[in-house]
């Protein structure tokens, strides 16, 4: 389905669309809540992804980013069954100011489900300490980590540490990833979270991870890999072999589609169009490890 058609469909249903990746790598959309029947995807939501809240942003593209984050949180809290966790894939704040972190944490702490937070480059401005003071990683001091939950191996990668080369994983993190994956069977479904896209989505705007190919090479032997990221403030799906990529909408404001504007940056839309371009993502994991991704908007 083309992006234009996708947006149109979301506008029409006002609810969202669940996507499944078929064997041929084609995404099939189905409208949620169509015909008054509860969609099966909502019965087995494993986790929810939100991203790019940019607390502290106050331009025309969204004059109340706290309100749209809160609306996303309220929608997640109202899900019929709470997910195992909610992951925020970075840019929690706009300028990494202490009061922005405080406001963001206050809002995020109202989530019913446990929270996993990755830093984005906006959260790293000036210092990497502030983010980790507010959102200390559960294991290790580096920010990257992994855990197992119901047969799925989850991995958090941080590709915003190097302010000169973004995204970049760096040697120590790649070495850790290699060790981490060495103990996993290739049949184990993997779900990987990053902030900046791990593949070369649009390098001209910095929407790539310079050494991402090294990580992807390690992931190739696994049968089911889902890589979810933020940073680009829009839903973009992609597949390479067994690896499925999906960039998420922001909770704050959209950015232009790659190549449709001279530069990236906040895209100002009429208010109703803004609400159709931001929101949250539900992910259902089928028994075979296949991820069914549903992007819901605030419209």
């Amino acid at each position: 389905m083309k992006r234009g058609a996708f947006l149109e469909h979301v506008a029409w249903t006002g609810a969202g669309i669940a996507y499944a990746v078929t064997a041929g790598g084609v995404f099939e959309g189905k409208a949620l809540a169509a015909e008054g029947k509860a969609p099966s995807a909502l019965d087995h939501i494993e986790f929810v992804q939100i991203s790019d809240s940019h607390i502290g942003f106050h331009q025309a593209a969204n004059t109340d980013v706290a309100a749209t984050l809160k609306a996303s949180i309220d929608a997640i809290n109202a899900l019929p069954r709470q997910p195992s966790f909610v992951v925020h894939t970075g840019d929690v704040t706009h300028l990494a100011k202490p009061e922005q972190f405080t406001a963001a944490k206050d809002l995020l702490s109202t989530l019913k489900a446990p929270l996993v937070v990755l830093p984005g480059e906006h959260d790293m401005i000036g210092s990497q300490k502030r983010f980790f003071d507010v959102f200390p990683p559960e294991h290790g001091r580096d920010g990257w980590r992994s855990w197992d939950d119901r047969g799925v191996h989850y991995i958090v990668l941080v590709n915003v540490f190097d302010f000169e080369k973004m995204g970049l994983l760096g040697g120590p993190q790649l070495a850790w990833l290699e060790r981490d994956l060495s103990t996993q069977r290739s049949t184990t479904p993997l779900v990987v979270f990053t902030h900046v896209p791990l593949y070369a989505l649009y390098p001209k705007w910095g929407w790539t991870t310079e050494d991402g190919v090294k990580a992807l090479a390690m992931l190739q032997r696994f049968e089911r890999v889902t890589v979810l990221n933020g940073h680009i403030h829009q839903v973009v799906r992609h597949q390479e072999g067994n690896i499925v990529f999906a960039s998420a909408n922001a909770t704050a404001y959209p950015q232009p589609a790659p190549g449709t504007a001279p530069k990236p940056g906040p895209l100002t839309l009429p208010h109703d169009a803004l609400l159709r371009a931001i929101g949250y993502r539900t992910v259902e994991l089928q028994e075979d490890g296949r991820a069914v991704i549903g992007d819901s908007t605030l419209a």
Partner: protein, 102 residues
């Protein structure tokens, strides 16, 4: 005596900051020549946040929101490369010349 007065005058001269505009994801001018002791004023004229961050970390504006400005005084002669830490493809250079050529 005359030299001394000149030196005092130069040191005390409240030189106007040299401007660098940040607009359309570019530092303008991308290369700026100043004299040691001079101040540079960076103004973010974009709708997006940016930073002015030296690649050697010798200075860092922190986050500059739309409309924010930041001034920095360059005291040591040299060539200072800087980027926007949010958009590292944005690059600029400040060339600081010695006050007096020998």
């Amino acid at each position: 005596m005359y030299q001394m007065i000149l030196a005092v005058l130069l040191a005390a001269a409240p030189s106007t900051p040299a401007p660098v505009a940040i607009s359309n994801f570019q530092f303008r001018p991308a290369t700026l020549k100043i004299v040691a002791g001079q101040t540079v004023r960076f103004v973010n004229r974009d709708g997006e946040a940016h930073t002015v961050t030296a690649t050697d970390r010798s200075f860092d504006s922190g986050g500059l929101d739309s409309g924010d400005s930041w001034t920095h005084r360059f005291t040591r002669p040299g060539r200072y490369a800087y980027i926007c830490a949010l958009h590292p493809f944005m690059r600029g250079t400040i060339i600081v010349l010695p006050k007096r050529r020998s």
